[in-house]
């Protein structure tokens, strides 16, 4: 009789499992906390969009916006065309900065944005944006290095020289009334001011000059502050996904009934539960040492395969012959120590077959092919049968 007691329970309790895992749970909590902290600090609530007025990262432009605001310019950040339009109450005293790096706006939206304010600064426009707003200008590829002010524009002359990192533009229509600045040779300019009936339209390619990283270099600050601070109001418009109007036609999500997604989620949960149901083991495995399994006839079979592989026909046949002669000796009534010749003679006498024939089968013949081996083996069997029937006629 073997008894168990309270100490025999092997399965750990939930409490002990938790206690054992406490260190790792604590570590995980600390790690997640650290991760969150890093994320919060790095983002600091601002946007991560390039040249955004609320982005304090090197690629943002918060420094510029803050300085402008400190000097009495009312800076308004807009994230959609509607916001921008709403922010502009007095177009004549407003500068609109438009930087659509994500190409969210359509042509018509671009045209509308360009006509919103008296002064429009279009930063780093793409081919399509230029075509929609200033078809008389064309793109001229990237520009780098410092650029000298080479025009009469106040902002440019005050700046003297700026960081040229960004893009250059070219005038396609020579009849247009334009002021070109910061030339990098080959009629490529980084700043082009057009005179429109509605007001001033400026295309600015030196994006680097506006960023937090480079704003303090060269005359960057002077250029940016004069360009954007010329009016009382500044609307800092960077288009976002909010500007994208809904595509026409229903999507897959519109067509699926509302219960499909929850049902799939429920079935996934059920599948998980099913896995836990089937996967939970009913107690640990019981260990058992298994015995080795060696079949004794394996050596015999291995030897047979060796004979076969090396085509040892004569050796194989001799083994069969020796075995047979050993069996024939008592049948023909010879003593155990008889020689092969004696056996051959008595077999020939008993079976009344020619001596040479018996000798060939039992001793002499060497098989040159597998066919001959099979034939000789058959002859051995026939001979044995003949001897047995001759000795014991029944």
């Amino acid at each position: 009789m073997i008894d168990s007691d309270a100490a025999s329970v092997v399965t750990p309790t939930v409490r002990s499992v938790l206690r054992r895992a406490l260190f790792w749970i604590a570590m995980a909590v600390v790690a997640i906390g650290l991760l969150l902290a890093v994320v919060v600090i790095s983002r600091a609530g601002g946007s991560s969009i390039r040249l955004s007025s609320t982005n304090a990262a090197p690629q943002g432009a918060e420094a510029l916006a803050t300085v402008l605001a400190d000097h009495g310019v009312a800076v308004t950040a807009a994230s959609s065309l509607t916001n921008a339009a709403a922010a502009i109450t007095n177009p004549g005293e407003t500068t609109l900065l438009l930087y659509d790096d994500g190409a969210f706006l359509t042509d018509s939206q671009l045209e509308r944005a360009a006509s919103l304010a008296g002064t429009v600064v279009l930063v780093d426009p793409s081919f399509r944006q230029l075509k929609a707003t200033a078809p008389e200008l064309g793109q001229a590829g990237p520009v780098s290095g410092a650029l000298k002010a080479d025009c009469g524009l106040t902002a440019a002359t005050k700046a003297g020289s700026v960081s040229g990192g960004g893009f250059g533009y070219r005038i396609i229509d020579p009849t247009v009334d334009a002021i070109t600045c910061f030339g990098s040779g080959d009629a490529v300019f980084s700043l082009i001011q057009l005179h429109r009936t509605a007001g001033t339209f400026i295309v600015l390619g030196t994006t680097d000059a506006l960023t937090n990283e480079f704003i303090a270099h060269d005359g960057n600050a002077a250029l940016a502050l004069n360009l954007l601070g010329s009016q009382k109001n500044l609307v800092w418009y960077i288009p976002t996904i909010a500007d994208v109007t809904a595509a026409s036609g229903p999507t897959t999500a519109d067509l699926t009934p509302s219960w499909v997604i929850p049902s799939l989620a429920l079935l996934a949960v059920a599948g998980l539960a099913g896995g836990l149901w089937r996967g939970r083991r009913f107690g640990p495995l019981i260990i058992e040492n298994l015995p080795v399994t060696v079949r004794a006839s394996e050596t015999m079979q291995g030897r047979a395969r060796l004979y076969e592989k090396s085509s040892s026909r004569l050796r194989a046949l001799d083994a069969l012959r020796i075995g047979m002669i050993d069996q024939l000796i008592p049948i023909v009534g010879l003593p155990r120590v008889s020689t092969v010749d004696e056996v051959v003679t008595s077999v020939a006498t008993i079976t009344q077959q020619p001596l040479a024939q018996i000798r060939r089968v039992l001793v002499d013949a060497a098989p040159r092919s597998d066919v001959e081996l099979v034939r000789l083996s058959d002859e051995l069997v026939i001979l044995e049968h003949a001897v047995t029937t001759a000795v014991r006629p029944d």
Partner: protein, 430 residues
Amino acid sequence: MALSGWFVLLVALGVIPIVVTSAPITLVLWLGFVVLLAAADLLIAGSPRQVRLSRELPERIRLGETAHSRLLLTNTGSRAVRGLVRDGWQPSAGAHPTRVRVVIPAGERRAIVTALTPFRRGERRAAHVTIRSFGPLRLVSRQATIRLDGAVTVLPPFTSRMHLPSRLARLRELDGVTRVLVRGPGTEFDSLRDYVRGDDVRSIDWRATARRRDVVVRTWRPERDRRVVIVIDSGRTSAARIANEPRIDTAFESALLLAALATRAGDRIDLVIFDRRVRGRVQGATGAELLARMVTTMAPVEPELIEMDWAAVPGLVRSVTSHHALVVLATSIDAPGASHGLLSVLPQLTRKHTVIVSSVTDPEVRAATVNRATRSEIYQAAAAERALLDVTRVAAAIRQLGAEVVTGTPADLPPALADAYIALKAAGRL
């Protein structure tokens, strides 16, 4: 904790309210409902940790027979435990049933009977009992594994005991017969009796006849109180299986039959199981105790993957007896190379003792020599003839060194060894 199939079904059933209401919030509500039910079920379920166990078990059982293990479960908790119990036996213990449904009200006790039909010799163990206690809704269960050792010794089957009655009858025939060779060294004088027709005239005791005025013959009985030492090789060659039985098991069967026979004949049997060290030893036991001790000693012995140390065997036999004995070496004689160790020590043994070397032959090899239909079969027949020739050569060498050789298939070897013993006894060579 463990989930049940009902829990999975209940979760999946949530599809119905979700489709009917078409509201995503139903998913959350349904999952909350299911979790709440499961938590309630789990709380109400009786604690499997509070179950105390005890086991009643037969100590030993013969291979092929069935024993019953009784597992008593006492619920010392405050709530009823209804659930599933698994008694953890090793697979080869052949336990049935392995999972039992049981309901144990608080403070009560229930018994589970497991039938054990082991299919391997040796010690079969149970390690632990696992209990799954379900709540009233059978959605979730609490599970605990409780350590509870149990072991049953599975003895060799001794199937060859069916040959015992016929061999005992032959042994009795030796008793009291008048012998042709009355001057044989081993037979002992038993008694005088009246001559009946048919008795050998050479056994007439003339002196007694003269005294009694009636023809009297001497009767003889086989010698008694001889020593028989059985040495079983548990080395690597004994692990090989012939007709799905390891050689060592056949050796055990032969040893048991021989011991049963010899102890009835009044001889003393000693058993040693040896490879490089003594794996089992039975000395000084007689009668029923001898067989019981032999099977208990044999039960846990498995062949070791090491070479038999034949050089130590003469010393081993000397440690058992210093007198003349019948030494039975149960080993295998396969190839001249492998039997070198045996051949080198045989002279030391045969100088003092009568030695029998018993070995199992493979019926497959004999059968392979006859099948010669295809090319591969001819090569196989040749290899089989070669193997038989090797055995014959080793057997001849053993006989030349003065020992007897007994070979046979696993079924034939035990009676063949018994016959060899009876023949030696009849010849008075013990």
